[in-house]
Symmetry: C2
Subunit: 358 residues, 2 copies
């Protein structure tokens, strides 16, 4: 459909598609023991990350992710013109303390677990428009700070239904640039996957499809998959329709944290709309933990879930040439500790980001 | 400095400066009784806005502001391509429920009381870049939902120090467009101020200066003015320096909610940096309430404070030709209910938006 955005469409195709020049992933011990463990940059065994409260732990985790992304991109904080990011905690408090020492102009965003999608969307626009040459998208979640905020203090050890997900302890920073990734940057991003064959490849964000808030009236905060499936369906359907393409244009269509329950609902909803994405479909929440051995019920969730899976694993698969194109669709459940105690429904949103290898 | 953003600068000057084609202001009874009362579109006497909880009250307030902005701009929700907004409550819950029925692609942002500045910044970029023709920036705060979240349930009637501010019950929607405001839109925005002389005037956002997080180590959540003054200073200083202009380029330099205490600190900080803005200076928090009769201590605050003062009053002064240019710098204190109970400092941020009459 050409670059830009056509009237009545939800998808923007970029003209100066940003390059990915840095990507970091920092996770906790449990995530490090999962199936994607070997792809993550840092596996921190101390759940407090050296801090004294769970909130401070998450700030330190997010700061580590930001610093690691800078290191991988071989850049100083002063070279990053904007930072776009946020987290799950009220008033984005993990982010405020996580980045305050970096001195980077900041757009704070909230999209619950879809935050990496929203951050990458805004960061991409900053590059495509020529406003900036280097922008970082950053997000995190921490199992214990999330449990404390949304559910019960972790020490209570309360039981969860099988539809519930497990909040990922993880943070990721992704640096987008107007210029190509250097050989050094590629090497640092790919690690041991870097070969002669991959040294010239580049990953670019070629488009975005912005979500709107969906609310199917579900009130069960322990069944986020069901809550978020309609938002993912809305974005995937509109993205494919806007571009006039079929699901097989992509090697993978990847949602954030629908988990086992949400997956089934999404596939059914898309099927009702005439789209069969079963062959391409992947969900970060179902990849990050081992279903049989890690006791995480429906799968992983949290801003960090899709962020570290993208930054640590999906980007490496693209770099390595396993896939050529993915549609990354992290999903967020827009509930607050107050809203569900007041018996409200849980609205949701998703943000679509198209990433292609060239 | 030409359009775009120069390397090492914090200010973007737009090439296709967005026009303001709709602006609404909805406030509570107390704000309606204040000095700016006659400038607001809707003064709602029911503090619950017809809802059953304070959070629902704020959602309804925000929805009213969005609907009124559409009405003033004579547009249907479907014509707005993006909505950029947020509020003070954890997980932006007032916004999620406030806009979920509107079906507009949504970027949720959090900048505490600077939210209207951040929303207008991103909304302006969406228009300037050609991604969209019509975007709404939206925000709100409600005194009782904020008190309940950050301090004590309103029913306790607890006492506050004189440095504390009063959270404004108010919401505003501002619609930015790629094309000029029509005579009808101008008439609806200006109300009784509309005259033959004003019927051809247009307001445009010509640039933005993005803030970074500042933290001077202050821990007193009852003295937000002192917390936020450094963030305002940083943005004003950088905006003037980037553009190589003096404060008298502007008819007004307007901060969000520094109040009496923050004002003195800001003027002193800027003076130390060689800028005297005393003649141009105005603070929304000091304009919205009557210092002598409304018992609001240091002044107004909250996302709604700067948003309704801009939308209801400042824009009208620009439209009416009282002023030609303003630098709007709403400020936000980035604390959470948890962070101050854990004894943390209060970081802050500000976002600068240049609005000019042509």
């Amino acid at each position: 459909m050409g670059t830009g955005k056509k009237k009545g469409k939800r998808t923007i195709l970029f003209q100066k598609c940003p390059y990915i020049t840095g990507a970091s992933s920092v996770v906790g011990e449990k995530e490090g023991e999962g199936p994607l463990g070997r792809y993550f940059d840092i596996i921190e065994k101390d759940p407090m990350f050296g801090g004294t409260t769970w909130e401070e732990a998450e700030s330190r985790l997010q700061n580590q992710a930001a610093q690691k992304a800078l290191k991988i991109a071989d850049k100083a904080a002063g070279e990053i013109e904007y930072l776009v990011g946020g987290d799950l905690l009220g008033q984005l408090i993990a982010t405020s303390f996580g980045i305050e020492d970096m001195g980077i102009p900041f757009f704070g965003v909230y999209g619950a677990c879809s935050t990496m999608g929203e951050s990458l969307s805004i960061a991409s626009m900053l590059i495509d428009s020529g406003y900036a040459d280097n922008v970082m998208a950053l997000t995190s979640s921490h199992n214990s700070s999330a449990e404390r905020q949304f559910r019960f203090p972790p020490g209570y050890g309360n039981q969860k239904p099988m539809a519930a997900t497990w909040t990922v302890t993880g943070g990721a920073g992704i640096i987008l640039s107007s210029g190509k990734a250097s050989k050094k940057q590629l090497k640092q991003m790919m690690g041991y996957l870097f070969t002669e064959k991959t040294e010239d490849c580049q990953l670019r964000i070629t488009g975005i499809t912005t979500g709107k808030i969906m609310d199917y009236g579900i009130k069960d905060s322990m069944n986020m998959g069901a809550v978020m499936a309609p938002a993912a369906c809305d974005v995937i359907k509109n993205s494919l329709t806007d571009l006039g393409i079929k699901p097989d244009y992509y090697d993978r269509i990847v949602t954030g944290d629908l988990g086992k329950v949400g997956k089934e609902i999404l596939l059914e909803l898309l099927d009702e709309n005439g789209f069969d994405i079963e062959k391409q479909y992947m969900d970060c929440g179902m990849e990050i933990y081992d279903e049989d051995f890690q006791d995480t019920h429906s799968g992983g969730s949290g801003c960090g879930c899709s962020a570290v899976t993208l930054s640590g694993y999906l980007l490496k698969m693209l770099f390595a040439g396993e896939w050529k194109r993915i549609l990354f669709v992290p999903t967020g459940a827009l509930l607050s500790p107050i809203s569900f105690h007041e018996g409200n429904t849980v609205p949701s949103i998703a943000h679509g980001v198209i990433i292609e290898r060239e």
